[in-house]
Symmetry: C2
Subunit: 233 residues, 2 copies
Amino acid sequence: MVKNHKEIIDLSTNLKGLWDLLSEEEREILRNNAIIQHFKKNEMIYCEGDVPQEMMCLLKGKVKIFKEGVGGRYQIIRMIKPVQYFGYRAYFANEAYLTGASAFESSTVCLVPMKIVVNLLLRNNKLAYFFIQQLSIDLGIADERTVNLTQKHIRGRLAESLLFLKDSYGLEEDGATLNIYLAREDLANLSNMTTSNAIRTLSNFVTERVIALDGRRIKIIDEEKLKKISKLG
Amino acid sequence: MVKNHKEIIDLSTNLKGLWDLLSEEEREILRNNAIIQHFKKNEMIYCEGDVPQEMMCLLKGKVKIFKEGVGGRYQIIRMIKPVQYFGYRAYFANEAYLTGASAFESSTVCLVPMKIVVNLLLRNNKLAYFFIQQLSIDLGIADERTVNLTQKHIRGRLAESLLFLKDSYGLEEDGATLNIYLAREDLANLSNMTTSNAIRTLSNFVTERVIALDGRRIKIIDEEKLKKISKLG
DNA sequence: TTACTTTTGTGCTATAGAACATAATTATAA
DNA sequence: TTATAATTATGTTCTATAGCACAAAAGTAA
């Protein structure tokens, strides 16, 4: 993990959600201990097996959290958008990172030492509850995901990924194009399938007029149909 | 959910882990609000879609947490052993239950209203941190599980389930027989496969002298080999 | 006991999806 | 520019595993 150049950023406007829960004194602690780091596209933020030291908050860009599985296959576990916190689970569980994180595109991250975070939340119950809620939400998503990835067929899994990407990163001004451009391989890793099947299924969707493709731009044409495909597996 | 008869139980010896974190006053609150309930074998404790009201702590017995997937197939998400807490995630996340829970065998459960729990943890930071840790551990397990269930082959998945059951419920006096008897169907739901494949693979393991079977009793003969099968998928 | 249901075991078939090969296209670098 | 690498696309083969059928065994009830 390379330390990029530091930078002064107004944390109050950036650490959304969390900032409101803090006293002025606690905010000062954060200000003194948080650092900002930039990551280039595809740069690793942390690696599977690393000892967790900092909580991270994505301020700008897109980050993917992934895991290496059997035979060098990768599985994208979750995608992070601004402003979302990540990288804290392993520390709380007293474990090394079970996942890796890398910048999907050029990204800005705010890092706070976990020791500071734990000190704060042991004194501030609202902050503690904030983490309880985040973890609870993520655990629910993980449970859903397990069933979806294991029981749905390829079409259902891909449809679901597309809807997930829409919900996470939104659409462009045209109100149809996904606001994230990813390689077919990433789409495959997100949907638990091989790259060729992602490509094939994607072009089936084009034939069925559910989506339209222009390179890595994916335009959702018939969202209802996509939802139907996702539901019925 | 049927209310079984109440009962007086010494919570201090039973609510392990959590009890030590509380003040005498807080303990009194728990004593006044916790109730004990018995569940018969296969009885539902809560259902997918229910609105969560209580945190549960399994005092005796075994509980399975599961999810209905595509086409009526069930997936066992996790297994609970004494003394473990469950049923609180959905409330924290402000959601209806995403999973159902049922007694795997005759079980005793301690129930505490979630409102009480939240009140307590908003005043007691150690209690809050207890939940943060539990959720963090469970989220890690869920992430691991996703990759295992999606990427490993049947043999690897079944081997892993057997090892998981051994770690969770331990062995009998002979030091080899799993201390839980489950139907082939449950083993299948736990390992994400059909019942026939669970049966088949199980008897392959017998042929390979990795395990021995006697009805629902599973004796682990060669744990190292089982670990190897689990690792290599 | 008998009748009936559930669980377990086994063989056969069908198929979703992986694995592989190869070409076309698009980036990236020199 | 040309050369090289990465990504996308598509066709073919192969196999793990689901799905089904049916029999045997075990458990449950009348």
